[in-house]
Amino acid sequence: MIIYGVAILAFSYLTGQLCGEYLGEFLGVKANVGGVGFAMIILLLCKEWLQKKGWLDVEFEKGVDFWNKMYIPVIIAMSASQNVKVAVSSGFLAVIVGAIPVIAAFASLPYLIKLTTKH
């Protein structure tokens, strides 16, 4: 049943996000810390466990795969609901502080990869 896949995804999402909320609270931060990351790891562990048990079937995977493929449409909708107006109209300082570090980050990515893969 497709709903099993969706339900496992929902379980992973909710458990992971809740972990992130509590970790944020524990650290004294007003934000979710790593919720999506925890959820992804929980989903991967669930998948491996189900595979071992032999319970992973095509229908199940379809339930997760649908949401996987909805990812880009969601991102399009997200772009369409960003506050682009404020970004465009907030003056030169915002443009500089927004742009220069991003360019510096792109420039340093190859070195970062080289540096850490050596060790």
């Binding site: 995804l9 929902a10 992973s12 999402y13 992130g20 970790l23 931060v29 007003k30 934000a31 810390v33 790593g34 919720g35 999506v36 990351g37 959820a39 992804m40 989903l43 991967l44 998948k47 995977e61 795969d65 949401w67 996987n68 990812y71 880009i72 449409p73 969601v74 991102i75 399009i76 909708a77 997200m78 772009s79 369409a80 609901s81 960003q82 506050n83 682009v84 107006k85 404020v86 970004a87 907030s90 300082l93 915002a94 443009v95 500089i96 502080v97 742009a99 220069i100 570090p101 991003v102 510096a104 980050a105 792109f106 340093s108 990515l109 190859p110 970062l112 850490t116 893969t117 060790h119």
Partner: protein
Amino acid sequence: MEIFKNFIDKNGLIVGFLVVGVIALLSELFSRKILKGYLPGSAIAILVGLILAYFGGIISGGDKGLADLSTLKGIGTFGGSMFRDFTIVATAMGASFAIMKKAGFLGFVSLIYGILMFFVLGVVLAWIWGYRDAVSLCTIGAGSCTYIVGPVTGAALGASSDVIALSIAIGVLKAILVTILTPLLAKRVGLNNPAAAMAFGGLMGTNSGVSAGLAATDPALVPYGAVTATFYTGLGCLLCPSLFYLVLGWIF
């Protein structure tokens, strides 16, 4: 008209599905027929989304782009953080846990480096601009991390509302730039494998920018970028108003 308006109101999310589907279709056609595949359809669709968001903001005067037009409110739900995070988690199904573990150290280093670099550059640029008080400098530096870290830090430190607004604008601009530049620069900076995507996610940190940028580059890399980027905002909110502010107060 009244019936139509109520009907749209009741079915907002479904209207969102339809509108996004039409945007995706037109962008795909534009990519194939006019650009001959030079830019992928998804990258164009994301760009179109941003442009529409600009006009949506101008027409409605709100801060949620197209989603502030009452007939298109469903786009805000469809593109909100709940669906975004739910679908990102679903992308993990195609990811490998072993690779994530192997590249974990690289992800961690880039996370720390990313937060520090954006914060320091933000502070330095604000200082050159003429800001001299530690609270404003720290809020602007936090804004160059993400558009959530900025206002959280500003509120914690009691920054003035125009500095907080500025920090949000900086963070939004960063997300938009990462979205647009990632597919264009990916090849040149070696962003073509899972480990590099993990480093990229930690380095850039902005959830919406990283997820949209990687989606337009190569959807298979999305889970790897997202798994590190998800820690960025939280860590930024932790470090900026505490440790970084203390250090700034000590310097200025």
